[in-house]
Amino acid sequence: MDCKTYKSVLKLDKGTACTAWNYCGQRLAAGTVDGTLAVFDSTDHASSSFRCSSRVKVHKAGILKVVWVPPEYGDAVACIFYDGGFSIWEEAGEDSHSVQWKLCEFFNRGSSKVLDIQFGVSPTSLKMVSTYSDGYIQVYELSNPLELKNWQLQAEFQNVIDSISTFRKASCLSASISWNPMRGGQELSFIMGFNSDTPQLNSSKVWEFDGAHQRWLPVAELALPEERGDRVYSAAWAPNIGRPYELIAVATERGIAIWHIGLNPDLDGRLPMERVALLSGHEGEVWQMEWDMSGMTLATTGSDGVVRFWQSNSNGVWQGQATFVHTS
């Protein structure tokens, strides 16, 4: 089935390289190759027309990726730059007339470039996971919920199950982080996979925060034993509105794997898991995967320029549901 019902929402500035919608889909942040951040706002809640409310030059290098900060922490984005650094910008003002986009914090880790950033919300704090081209993961915590400039480095580790090994000379092309999107009670966790020349780093691992010992632990590795070295292009954790298991999609060169992860760990602390599908359809790499709000439909896209929609039928068999190819 082809997905034909579509309409144009807005025109992007030339040189736009990345976009991100905020939590309610009323604002779009777009980054350009010359380092400008443009923000588009919906003119009216009920309509879907947008106009540009702000254009700020945020950096000398181009913007590779924009990520919104969760709304409990304001209207803010993290911009990842082509030169390997990233910064956090926020829309704020002392009074309603002086509201503008301001730089909160700039991060630069020297020779290693940041590949991806994602924010995770716990009832008491905001955490930020950043991954770097040398295969390291950093977890930051925001110390003051009203100030996006004070970040404390909480942990730094590599994406390996066995915490003793470190890989000093890893070279990573891309990384993919996806937080468990559910709020409330449970411990924070996220999934992380690399596209690198170091097989041990690649496979997607579920990292969970061990509150008692204040450390991050790998609790599951989402790869069959013979596929552990496969480069991971994308990973996405589905919202769980009540399933007795978590649902995670991981894209490698073999296709898109759908995993069921048990909610309770077994005796050695690992989560039970099962690969329930391996979907193929995209030609080339899958760059992005997004679950809808119920976790019932997975949208994917990649180097073939096609958007594919995947759903499970009533017997639990995952299949392509629709495709969308833009024809201008």
């Binding site: 040189g15 290098a61 009203l146 992005q288 119920s294």
Partner: protein
């Protein structure tokens, strides 16, 4: 291209090197519900004027555009109350049925019927085009508004699943249904309706009806599918009825009228016959059989009577004989007179098997008819009929979903489960693969998602989500989190929904989001208000600390006014940090300072000095504010009329100054933002005051 994606980027260079883009050309993001926003980048050439665009893609949600989006929204709104009513009645019944299930069974049928009828009404008015009350002799079929397949499908399901009371009259109900909806099949295949319409369009050009083959052909077809009124009306346009012809064609006219009369007297097994409809109505089978046999006897008698020889008009004789064959249920005649299997099937129900009951025998009949009139691409309604007759709930569901989308499925599931254990277990069984929900819940969730994707319909999604026992509230929370918090009406609506469904955590998170939004966007009062509503002590404390910090800088009257309101808002009762207490005292002090005015009001000045002392004695007053406070009070310390501070109070303040001086040596000391001479001015003023106080005392 000024920039290329570096190796460290997210972008992986393509192995095939023929001009593939280096950056992702697409980026996707789900909006609310089932709409996906796709950013299309055109990075191929930076000089290119176009910068790409964002499009919104909707996962095809069924329907072929028969019903416009606006109409769907109306249907969505109107179906909320029947749906909610049904759930309520069902819930209250299930609480009763634990005690005594049987008496409520009939009630169950009744409220299902109410539900089905309510929904049916909102799908549009029934305007049958095969209407007997047509006064205009030139019109056989009224040109009415095109009925919708959606309504046709709903009525089918109502007929087969819900309306159990009239199961014995099912064949006649199918006849009626086809009369209402036959025209819907015209697009794919010919229909009797189309035949009649075509004839109606040209009949004025025909001089002698009975000479025209089309005339007889149309009557046959209309009769075959049971449109008796049309058949009779057309028969009476026969030339022999004309006054000038009557004497010459007496026998011929007699035969025409005899056939017309037999048609009008046809026994029909149904509960009632609307006024103007032809045929004779029998409710009970024995009566019907008696009448049917008698009627059939009359037809046979007429068929074999001698008058036919005296009928000299060949076409009339042939035509009438064919009509009799149809009435006698001659399969070949029926086959020739109908245009598709469904019409053929209906003609069999009327003339050959009027007692067909039970889905199995109907299914067999339908299969026979399909073999006789096969079609390459069956109409969607036909697929549903086959699914229903074949008792294949899954097929019916799949067809409903494919052809009519989530609204249909979510609402029709209610009908499918009535009185069928098999459908019940299929639709209500919880499946692990679906996350331990039933198909029924899955389809309700899917429909709620569709509702969520539009700003005008998301508010009704909670009604459906609340009927989803397992996943409904989870999805509702996510839906609520995805509503913008900056608009007050929307926020209040959101919170109201939270209250209705006891989603307290969700509610406080939303208020937190609103609070932070307003605080950051310069509406500090609203910010604090919503954070208080959310009971977000953590953020409120941080705000108090922030206010603290700004107090440290000796504030101008202008900025004082601005945050005086904020301190009022930071209600001292919900005070978690000592900071609030200090802020309140500081506000009182500032206010009394302002009341002093020109420096002559002794009472106000004394009040201000009392406030100052309260502040300076209070342990919660941070040390870094001591000097700014004293500096603000210089006017009081140098009061002209009399010294305002007693000796002991002055000593206390001097001690504090001393403490400050030694604190300056500590590394963590925060230097107040004051002129360099402030300390000396204060010290001098205190010393002067001390001297005057000693003299006075």
């Amino acid at each position: 291209m000024p920039e290329t994606a570096p190796a460290g980027g997210e972008v992986v260079p393509m192995s095939s090197g023929h001009g593939q883009p280096l950056a992702p050309r697409l980026s996707i993001c789900w909006s609310r519900g089932n709409s996906l926003r796709v950013s299309l980048f055109s990075l191929a050439s930076f000089e290119d004027e176009a910068g790409g665009e964002v499009v919104e893609v909707k996962l095809c949600d069924g329907g072929d555009g028969e019903i416009s989006n606006a109409q769907w929204r109306t249907i969505a709104y109107d179906s909320v109350s029947p749906f909610a009513m049904l759930q309520n009645r069902r819930n209250s019944m299930s609480s009763f049925s634990n005690i005594n299930p049987s008496p409520y069974h009939l009630e169950c049928w009744e409220y299902m019927m109410d539900y089905s009828k309510d929904i049916n009404v909102l799908l549009g008015n029934k305007k049958s085009s095969v209407d007997s009350l047509i006064e205009d002799p030139d019109i056989f079929l009224k040109k009415t508004e095109e009925p919708t397949c959606l309504k046709a499908a709903w009525e089918l399901m109502e007929m087969f699943y819900v309306n159990k009371l009239s199961q014995a009259w099912l064949p006649e109900r199918i006849v009626d249904w086809l009369a209402d909806y036959d025209r819907l099949f015209a697009a794919l295949h010919g229909t009797v309706h189309m035949k009649v319409m075509n004839f109606q369009n040209v009949h004025n050009d025909i001089e002698v009806y009975e000479d025209d083959l089309r005339y007889w052909d149309v009557i046959e077809s209309a009769l075959a599918v049971g449109w008796l009124e049309i058949a009779v009306k057309m028969l009476r346009r026969h030339g022999s009825y004309q006054l000038d012809q009557l004497s010459n064609r007496e026998t011929e006219n007699g035969l025409v009228e005899a056939v017309a009369l037999l048609i009008s007297k046809m026994p029909r097994m149904r509960s009632e016959l609307e006024p103007g409809r032809l045929g004779e109505c029998y409710k009970a089978k024995p009566d019907f059989i008696k009448a049917w046999d008698k009627w059939r006897g009359q037809i046979t008698k007429l068929d074999s009577c001698a008058f036919w020889i005296q009928c000299h008009h060949g076409q009339t004789r042939e035509g009438l004989k064919k009509l009799l064959q149809i009435l006698l249920g001659n399969t070949n005649s029926l086959l020739a007179a109908t245009t598709n299997w469904l019409e053929l099937c209906v003609s069999h129900l009327i003339y050959i098997r009027p007692f067909t009951v039970g889905l199995e025998s109907m299914y067999n009949l339908a299969q026979n008819c399909i073999q006789l009139k096969p079609m390459s691409s069956p109409h969607k309604l036909m697929n549903i009929i086959i699914g229903i007759l074949g008792e294949n709930t899954e097929v019916v569901l799949a067809e409903c979903s494919k052809e009519f989308g989530p609204w249909m499925v979510a609402h029709a599931i209610e009908l499918l489960t009535v009185g069928s254990n098999e459908a019940e277990s299929l639709l209500h069984e919880e499946r692990y693969n679906l996350g331990e929900i039933s198909l029924e819940e899955l389809h309700r969730l899917a429909y709620a998602q569709v509702l969520s994707s539009h700003a005008l319909t998301w508010q009704i999604a909670p009604v459906y989500l609340s009927s989803c026992m397992k996943h409904g509230m989870g999805l509702l929370e996510i839906l609520l989190y995805k509503q913008p918090v900056q608009l007050k009406e929307l926020l209040l609506k959101n919170l109201e929904i939270c209250r209705l469904y006891d989603l307290d955590d969700c509610s406080s998170n939303i208020m937190k989001m609103a609070g932070v939004y307003h605080w950051k966007h310069g509406r500090k009062g609203s910010g604090i208000y919503w954070l208080q509503q959310a009971r977000d002590e953590f953020r409120l404390n941080k705000i108090a600390q922030q206010l603290f910090a700004s107090v440290g800088k000796s504030i101008s009257d202008e900025s004082f006014k601005q945050w005086e309101g904020l301190i009022g808002l930071l209600d001292s009762e919900s005070n978690a940090a000592g900071g609030f207490e200090f802020l309140h005292k500081y506000r009182d002090f500032k206010r009394s300072l302002q009341q002093i005015g020109d420096g002559k009001n002794d009472i106000a000045a004394q009040k201000a000095i009392d406030s100052l002392m309260l502040l300076m004695r209070n342990t919660s007053t941070p040390q870094r504010f001591w000097l700014p406070l004293l500096n603000d009070s210089l006017k009081l310390l140098n009061w002209q009329h009399r010294p305002l501070l007693s000796v002991s109070n002055t000593n206390l303040l001097l001690n504090k100054l001393q403490e400050l001086s030694s604190a300056r040596l500590h590394p963590g000391f925060v230097k107040p933002d004051l002129p360099a001479e402030a300390l000396n001015s204060v010290r001098l003023a205190l010393a002067t005051n001390l001297g005057r106080a000693i003299l006075e005392e």
